[in-house]
Symmetry: C2
Subunit: 213 residues, 2 copies
DNA sequence: TCATTAATTTAACAGCGTTCGGTTCCCTTG
DNA sequence: CAAGGGAACCGAACGCTGTTAAATTAATGA
């Protein structure tokens, strides 16, 4: 039984990606072995090389699938939010945090990949990585239209906001934060709220009622 | 020549730590092999097991040495700064960014270690990891004494500021940021400035002249 | 001087990603 | 409907990894 029959043929490529995402619920990306993926798919490790050049190519495909998933979720939230621009910004951040905390290893693979995985290249940066910033930038421009952040560069603000949430999640996912009293999700939401409070404080002519809740 | 003579004995433990830090200038921590460390030290891989229980114990020691180094640099900066609390906060952030960008792999090992390295445990979190927050918290309290961030929780603000800088550095170190126009160090400094502008905007009774430079 | 202890070596093992050569099936061509 | 060619997969094998075991040599103490 070297080559499988047509009726029992499986789409190994798609299966490998979905099963890898599932396996990432337990393990970290670098602790994942091709033997584990192959076992989950139902084949032997060498069979994977017919669909991926090497292990990093598989991880890159999972990386991209993760981005597609994240965008879909953010789209859902964006479509469901009917509030002002500030609320949309906040809900976007919350959705981002929820995704990261529900898929820690996948999030790490997407935004903090190992240096040798070829994921740090400009391909992914320009292809999908910067789409995150475009999303966020649009939100920043929207709140600026309502009088917040007067005269600020939207790109820089967007990068700063993204950095804050990404940094908080990165620290929270490693227990490197005072999470003893609250859940990681609550801590992430609190970080989003703190940034929103900063934005509110910069309203032209306005004044901060409370700098951080 | 199984056991070395007394006159040509080297402190393998100290050598392994310092040579590992040197090797981390090129490679990432997870791409580092014990054979490379042993070659740099001048011994064979099994000799390292007489001084470290396993590879993660070596990485943990390097992790701690990195923290000691970072604290020393921040102390230097703190002692040299004679400005107001706001300037001290800014200079602390700049020193932090400089350290991270000059030692990328070491920084990653310190603040974003692989999950299986035993570095995510509560030992390091409570031991040295939270000392970063204490430093920062003191700075936040100091600026609050000057009227900024009224009524805010210093712990939450400190965590938010730390998250922002850590997140920005994490993204910058992977080329996941619009760094095309500026250097990574300039981008990091700009992020620090943006956060300082946010803080300035929250001054009680005051008003933001410019929300972000 | 001789046993004991300590420090490092060489040798070996299991597991990893990856490559090679063979085997089985499908699909086209005569 | 036979024959060949290509595609898809498997078992075996290779080099490298971290790690352990056994052997070897230097220092120490009686």
């Amino acid at each position: 039984m070297a080559r499988p029959r047509k009726d029992q043929a499986r789409d190994i490529r798609a299966l490998a990606i979905s099963e890898t995402i599932r396996l990432l619920e337990d393990r970290d990306a670098r602790d994942l072995t091709l033997a584990q993926v192959a076992a989950a798919v139902g084949c032997r490790p060498p069979a994977l090389y017919g669909h991926f050049r090497d292990k990093t190519a598989l991880l890159r495909a999972v990386h991209d699938a993760g981005f597609a998933w994240l965008y879909a979720e953010k789209m859902d939230v964006g479509a469901g939010t009917r509030g002002d621009a500030l609320a949309r910004l906040r809900e976007g951040g919350r959705a981002y945090a929820r995704f990261a905390l529900k898929n820690p290893a996948l999030y790490r693979l997407m935004f903090d990949p190992p240096r040798d995985s070829g994921l740090a290249g400009t391909l992914f940066e320009s292809d999908v990585g910067l789409k995150s910033l475009d999303f966020l930038r649009a939100g920043v421009v929207a709140v600026q239209a309502e009088g917040y952040l007067p005269g600020a560069d939207p790109d820089r603000i967007a990068f700063t906001l993204w950095s804050t949430l990404h940094g908080a999640l990165s620290l929270l996912l490693q227990g490197r934060a005072p999470t003893a009293d609250t859940s990681p999700l609550a801590a992430a939401d609190a970080t989003v709220d703190a940034m929103m409070a900063f934005i509110v404080a910069t309203r032209a002519g306005g004044r901060a009622e409370e700098s951080a809740p």
